[in-house]
Subunit: 216 residues, 2 copies
């Protein structure tokens, strides 16, 4: 059973990319339970997603299953982690060491998924020159110089909304290629720049609304 149908240059749909980490964590759980093979039907049953959808999603990944047996779990984990970019270390700078920015600097979990924040920028004199979790905090004016020293192409945006666009423009001018935007502000970037919006507050809004709806 070789269900590979896509070439590597295909753009993977975002819903697929969001589901693949579910399959990955499921495979890790199965491995920890001592299993050696897993089929898309099993994954499907455990996480309640249509089996044909699981097979279709996995077809983007370079892995072949065996009829009736399924995927070898260790290979599946390895291939998924590599495909999702979790095995390469991607260097990033963080902009804005406020409450959320500081919290992200302290989250060592990001490193296990391929993101290494190598420096942070702020203008607060109490922060500049210090470090959090071993990550140095520089003055924002040093950004251009630091970009020349390190090969960084990801910027994590955790500034106040009033300067979100201004800092984004600076990042892009300095050579940042992808912005992980944690602000509730909709930033604008040139077409070739990747933006990933992760607004915790928008997620809260959805959760509160659903909760109120259920309680009516």
């Amino acid at each position: 059973m070789d269900i590979r149908m896509h070439t590597l240059s295909d753009k993977v749909p975002e819903p697929t990319l969001r589901r693949l980490p579910w399959y990955l964590s499921n495979a890790k759980l199965m491995r920890d339970k001592g299993e050696t093979y897993v089929s898309s039907t099993q994954i499907s049953r455990q996480i309640n997603i249509d089996a044909s959808q699981v097979a279709k999603d996995l077809s983007y990944v370079k892995i072949s299953g065996r009829t009736r047996v399924g995927y070898e779990i260790n290979s599946l984990i390895e291939v998924l982690e590599s495909f999702l970019g979790f095995t390469d270390m991607h260097k990033a700078f963080l902009f804005g060491v406020g409450s959320l920015g500081g919290a992200l600097l302290r989250d060592t979990g990001l490193q296990q998924f391929g993101l290494e924040i190598v420096g942070a920028f702020d203008i607060n004199p109490e922060l500049v020159g210090t470090e959090i979790n071993g990550i140095p905090i520089y003055h924002s004016d040093e950004f251009e110089a630091k970009m020349k020293e390190a090969s960084v192409n990801i910027g994590v945006l955790t500034v106040p909304i009033s300067i979100a666009q201004e800092i984004t423009d600076k990042m892009v001018a300095g050579g940042i290629k992808a912005v992980w935007n944690f602000t509730p502000f909709r930033i604008r970037v040139p077409e070739d720049i990747v933006v990933q919006n992760t607004s915790l507050y928008a997620h809260l809004a959805v959760m509160f609304n659903r909760l109120n709806f259920n309680q009516k």
Copy 2:
């Protein structure tokens, strides 16, 4: 111009709920610049979303604009904050004080958006009995007792994937009505329980993929 078209009992579509915080932060910015009125056309232009979409989204919110002038900014901010649930304080418990859990306890920004974490649970003896940012950390066994003391209906899930389902089941049995799931694990809950998935790692996967795609 009264564009209210929905009754309060309408279920607001998730994309709308995710866009409304953008309008809110835009309105705050305009207010800080000294503006008093804003039209959906202006919002539309600034955040690059179709004006008819903006008007449609805002029609879910109880606010009326005036022809040619638009919405009074202070009212718009007030109404949006209230509609999104940011002005009510929602109490929550956090489960799993690891790296991400600890980081969320330290993020005071959540309170400004209506989420107050009033306690956390873990089994690590080095953590139990201590507090982070003024939030007490209890042993997981104390959950049922603590639920009786406080009126909490939101659970923030930041445990390892191997126990994500087990802890979710416990939360639900204890009376939690909404789970904010930060794990990359797809948890299963009864139909009347709200789940909001916020997997930072899934967002990272999407960002890495797009970045690699652009760099080909």
